[in-house]
Each structure stands twice: as structure tokens, then as C-alpha cells.
């Protein structure tokens, strides 16, 4: 596939590296020399220097030959213009990143989708949702929404309190609980497998399962009875992300204290939020941290926009007694390091959402969407059972899935159900399939009409 990426910042370069690695034909456009020179020295791709919103630059980058355009500069207007031009010259798939939530307006007159842009990704919105899920589904390590939120894929670590470490899966006498979930992956150290009946789980195992959102709390209580619950969330950083998160938490009546060092911004944020307490102060100052009343049932979230600042603020909050600390980091390569060092409870990168959006376009026609976990290699695919599929009328257990893949959930007539070996597939079913890295193509082929 020929892919044109506008913007050689962090997100653009990471995407280019990944796509080059997958043998796609990538062209990278930026108006600055330095990032392009860096990329050129490391990767085999064409680079074009110029404004991403200029037709001349786009022509020079052979926009008409591109199958996919991804615009990820830090200017919304450039990204949108590049997307609109791409549509007008017939580029088939267009993904645009925006940071201003005004562009996500539901008003039809301003709908970018209607103007030919397939996907408008708001990194901040996606990131806020991930942070919100982690806070409201405490005890999880990651939560991925699929089928427009109709089904969740949850990842968590098994603690000493879990009944799951006490006997193999087949001997767990909990038919009611086990019917509400389907295990899709087990990560032990570097080894990844799909749990079977005789799998014996161990402390520290990272376990992933799919479940309906309405069952999530009950299942988490069962898997991790001593999971922490929070009476309050302290957010350091009142930028768009902090404000978005605070708004979401207010909606579920979670008490929020927000710290913002800029006076003007603090008073703006305080006006937008209805119940949250907004304090003017820096998350790195002892006094501020003391004033915001951190206790052992407080979750502390740092979203100041600076990685190092976020990490330090979390360490300080932990010293003050916060039971859970969560830092947003811009560099995805920091995430696994932080999550394995036990310094903070969790680190979240804003780039996962973007990656998930792009994956969707690279996985073939009958694969509708894809998502990846930040810690588990592999992908979650949303696959449609096409008309005349050879699997119509077959049970899940009879399908010869590629090694390292499993059907997790089935959506039929708008209703999502968790798959079992006995589930029968019908034409038009949408399936959630987890596949280890490298098996996506086999799955696409398996369900090809």
C-alpha cells in the first residue's frame, strides 16, 4: 500500500517506522528539514519538504498515487486541508488528527466525515477515555473498547487474592461468572498463550478477557476481590486532556480535585466544571499536594503535557499516600519501562488511539476495525462473516482458527454476546477476534467470501 504521512513529529515518525517495517511504500511530508533528515538517515522512504496543506507539496509527494493519507502535524487546519485535498484527488482512505474538539462537532453542517475524511482522530479525547476507563474500572491494566463500546477487552494482573490462581480453569466451579467472559490471552513474562481448560494461572500473570460492559465490575470483583476503589481523583494539569477527564469523572459523580498552575486557565477550568474543586498550584509543589488532601483512597493522575513532570508528580503523590498513580506520557517507549519498574501504578500513552485508527485501514476488506493493547503484542480484529461464508452454520469450536487466535465475541442484530465453543455463526455476524502478531492476514483469508 502507498501511504502518505503529513507531519514528521513524534506520531508521524513512529507511524512511518512501523509502516516501513510492514513493507508499505511510505512518503513523509514536513515543512522542517531536521526531522526529515533524521528519518532519511534511518529509514528507506521518500521525504518531501513543504507545507502539508499546499497542493504543490502534495503533488510533489505524488498524492494521486496514495492509497491512504494520514495527516498528523500539530496544526489542525493543515491536517484538515491535506485531508480535503486528498479526498478531492481520489485518495481512498483518509485519516486526520485534530486536537480542537470543535472539529468533532456532531452538527452535520460541519461534519468532516461528510466532506470525505474517513476518520477524524482526537488524540486527547481517546486518551481521556482510556484514563477514565482505568480509573472507573480499577484493578485493570488496560481497557479497550470494541464494537462502539458494545464489548470490552480487559487486561489485568493476577494478585494473591485471585481465585484464579487456586486451580486450573476447568476446575473453577463458577459457571455463572465464567459464562460472562472469554479469556483471550495470557502473558507470563515474555510468553504469550491463549488460556485453555487445563491452564494453571499464577500470581503476576497478565490475563486478558472480553466481556460486556455491564458485567465488567462484577467480573473484576471476582478476579481481583481486593482491587482498590477510589473515593477521589486528583488531576494535575488543567489542559484540554485534564479538563476532558474531569468532565467525564463528574458525570459519574466521582469527586475531583484539579490542579492548574496558570491562573487564567485555572479560572476558566473552574467555570467549565460544575462540582470539581480547582486549585491553582503545581503538582510538583509539596504545599499544593498537601492542600489537595491525598489519602489512601485517592487516585492521582498527572496530565500536564510533560512526560518527566508527570512522572515526578506521580512519585511525589505516591509519597503523600495516594493509593494509585497514573501518568500520561507522550513517548510510547516510556510506557513499558514505567509499567514494569513498579515506580508508578500505570503510564498511558496517547498514541495508541492513533495507531488503532490506522490499523483499521491496513487489514483488508472484511476486517472492519482493529485495535491493539499497549502491553500485549497482537491485535483485536473486528471481522464480518460475509454472505456465503464457509463457516455459516458452524460452531465456533469447529472453525480451524490460525494458531494463536481466538473468537471472543459475536454481534448479531445489534446485540453483543460473548462467544463459547458452542456458539453458532450466522451470515452477517460481526466477530471480535484476538490474534497474536502476524496472524491477521491468515484470519482475513479465513473469513474471505
Amino acid at each position: 500500500m502507498r501511504i502518505l504521512i503529513i507531519g514528521a513529529g513524534g506520531a508521524g515518525r513512529r507511524l512511518a517506522t512501523r509502516l516501513c517495517g510492514e513493507k508499505h511504500d511510505v512518503v513523509l511530508v514536513d515543512n522542517r528539514d531536521t526531522p526529515l533528515e533524521e528519518v532519511e538517515s534511518q529509514l528507506d522512504m521518500l521525504t518531501v519538504r513543504g507545507e502539508g496543506s499546499s497542493p504543490a507539496t502534495l503533488e510533489e509527494a505524488h498524492i494521486r498515487k496514495a492509497d491512504l493519507l494520514v495527516a498528523v502535524t500539530n496544526r489542525d487546519e493543515v491536517n484538515i486541508l491535506a485531508g480535503l485535498f486528498a479526498h478531492s484527488v481520489g485518495v481512498r482512505h483518509i485519516v486526520v488528527r485534530v486536537s480542537n474538539s470543535d472539529y468533532l462537532s456532531s452538527d452535520k453542517s460541519y461534519d468532516l466525515h461528510g466532506m470525505g475524511i474517513d476518520l477524524v482522530v482526537s488524540q486527547k479525547e481517546e486518551c481521556a477515555r482510556e484514563l477514565f476507563n482505568i480509573l472507573t474500572m480499577s484493578g485493570t491494566q488496560e481497557v479497550v473498547e470494541l464494537m462502539s463500546g458494545g464489548v470490552l477487552a480487559l487486561g489485568l494482573m493476577l494478585h494473591t487474592d485471585s481465585p484464579m490462581i487456586r486451580s486450573p480453569l476447568k476446575d473453577l466451579n463458577e459457571p455463572d461468572i465464567l459464562s460472562k467472559l472469554r479469556f483471550i490471552a495470557l502473558m507470563r513474562g515474555d510468553e504469550i498463550s491463549i488460556p485453555r481448560g487445563d491452564t494453571q494461572f499464577m500470581i503476576g500473570d497478565h490475563l486478558y478477557f472480553v466481556a460486556l460492559p455491564e458485567h465488567a465490575a462484577e467480573l473484576l470483583d471476582w478476579v481481583h476481590p481486593e482491587r482498590p476503589t477510589f473515593a477521589k481523583v486528583v488531576i494535575a494539569g488543567g489542559g484540554d486532556l485534564g479538563l476532558n477527564l474531569a468532565t467525564k469523572l463528574e458525570k459519574v459523580s466521582m469527586p475531583v480535585t484539579l490542579l492548574e498552575s496558570d491562573e487564567e486557565r485555572a479560572s476558566y477550568v473552574s467555570g467549565v466544571l460544575s462540582r470539581a474543586l480547582v486549585l491553582r498550584g503545581d503538582g510538583l509543589e509539596q504545599d499544593t499536594l498537601e492542600n489537595c488532601g491525598i489519602s489512601e483512597r485517592t487516585a492521582f493522575v498527572a496530565v500536564t503535557g510533560e512526560d518527566e513532570r508527570n512522572i515526578l508528580a506521580c512519585l511525589l503523590a505516591e509519597k503523600k499516600g495516594a493509593s494509585f498513580t497514573l501518568a500520561q506520557v507522550g513517548r510510547p517507549e516510556y510506557v513499558p519501562v514505567i509499567n514494569s519498574s513498579s515506580l508508578l501504578d500505570r503510564a498511558v500513552s496517547a498514541n495508541t488511539a492513533m495507531n488503532n485508527a490506522i490499523l483499521r485501514f491496513l487489514r483488508g476488506r472484511n476486517i472492519q476495525a482493529a485495535a491493539s493493547f499497549s502491553q500485549l503484542p497482537g491485535e483485536l480484529l473486528e471481522v464480518i462473516q460475509p454472505a456465503k461464508s464457509k463457516w455459516t452454520g458452524h460452531k465456533v469450536r469447529d472453525i480451524r482458527m490460525p494458531h494463536g487466535s481466538i473468537i471472543g465475541a459475536i454481534k448479531r442484530d445489534g446485540q453483543v454476546r460473548i462467544a463459547t465453543g458452542d456458539s453458532e455463526l450466522l451470515e452477517g455476524d460481526r466477530l471480535v477476534i484476538f490474534s497474536l502478531r502476524g496472524t491477521a492476514n491468515k484470519i482475513e483469508a479465513l473469513f474471505r467470501p
Binding site: M157, H159, T160, D161, I165, R166, S167, R188, G189, Q200, M202, I203, G204, D205, P228, E296, E318, G321, A322, S323, S340, S341, S342, L343, D345
Partner: protein, 148 residues
């Protein structure tokens, strides 16, 4: 931070004398006290016993992991004890426990504690490693076997 550093020669005992669950817990707490890892013996003992009351920490394969959380320690501290004859620790498989790993960690940090137990129990999941620990003639041998 290397979590396994929490376990050092002075917190390993190859010669557990006790013959009941309660005594083993006390004996291992005393190892941590003697090594200077625990200052408040009573509070550490209490949290481990309270935890044990909720659910026994006797796992399969002769491993038991008595543990507790208290703010009287600042970082994770750990001890390892061996009693080859085994002690009834109300384990899952009903078999006697022979290798005891005790951890005491600060109340609000679960991460290091779980990672420590995960690393150690992953190593001890291997029958050959368990056998080496059980038959070790010196603390150095245990340290080598567990790559501490």
C-alpha cells in the same frame, strides 16, 4: 529497581525449625527482624496473620507465600525459608508446604509486591529449580539458583 534484591543471604533460612503454620510465620518474621528489615515486629506479624485468616497462602507444589502490608516498612522486604519435611499450610492441593516466601510491603504499593512474588513463583514453577532450593547446602546455592 531489581526486585529480587529484596531477598538477600541474611533473610534466607535453610533450616526452618517450626512445625506449625503459626510458628513458621513467627520464625520468618524473626529472620526479618534479626536482619534489621523490620522494626515493628508486632505490626508485621499481625498483618501476615490477618492475611492468612482471609485465605491461606499455601499454593501448589509445596510453595507458600505468607505476606502482609504495613506502613511500618518503607520498601518491600522478603525472606525465604526451607523445611524439606514440609508443614501443613492449608495449601490448595492439600500437600505439605516446603518452601516459604514471606513478603512485607508498604500499605499503598501493591505493584512491587506482586511483581516480586510473580518473579519468584515463576522460577519456582520449574520442578528442577524447586528441587535445587530444597536440597541446597548453603544460602549461596539458593541465591545462585534464584539468580538473586
Amino acid at each position: 529497581m531489581n526486585l529480587k534484591k529484596a531477598l538477600t543471604k541474611d533473610t534466607i533460612s535453610l533450616d526452618i525449625k517450626s512445625s506449625s503454620k503459626e510458628e513458621v510465620i513467627e520464625e520468618m518474621i524473626d529472620i526479618l527482624v534479626s536482619a534489621g528489615k523490620i522494626k515493628d515486629r508486632k505490626s508485621a506479624l499481625n498483618v501476615v496473620i490477618e492475611r492468612e485468616k482471609k485465605m491461606s497462602t499455601g499454593m501448589q507444589n509445596g510453595i507458600a507465600i505468607p505476606h502482609g502490608k504495613t506502613d511500618t516498612v518503607e520498601t518491600l522486604v522478603a525472606a525465604l525459608g526451607v523445611k524439606s519435611e514440609g508443614i501443613d499450610f492449608d495449601s490448595i492441593d492439600g500437600k505439605p508446604s516446603t518452601i516459604f516466601i514471606m513478603t512485607i510491603s508498604p500499605a499503598n504499593r501493591t505493584g512491587p509486591h506482586i511483581q516480586f512474588l510473580a518473579e519468584i513463583s515463576r522460577l519456582l514453577n520449574d520442578p528442577a529449580t524447586r528441587q535445587k532450593v530444597l536440597t541446597a547446602q548453603s544460602k549461596e546455592e539458593v541465591v545462585d539458583t534464584l539468580q538473586l
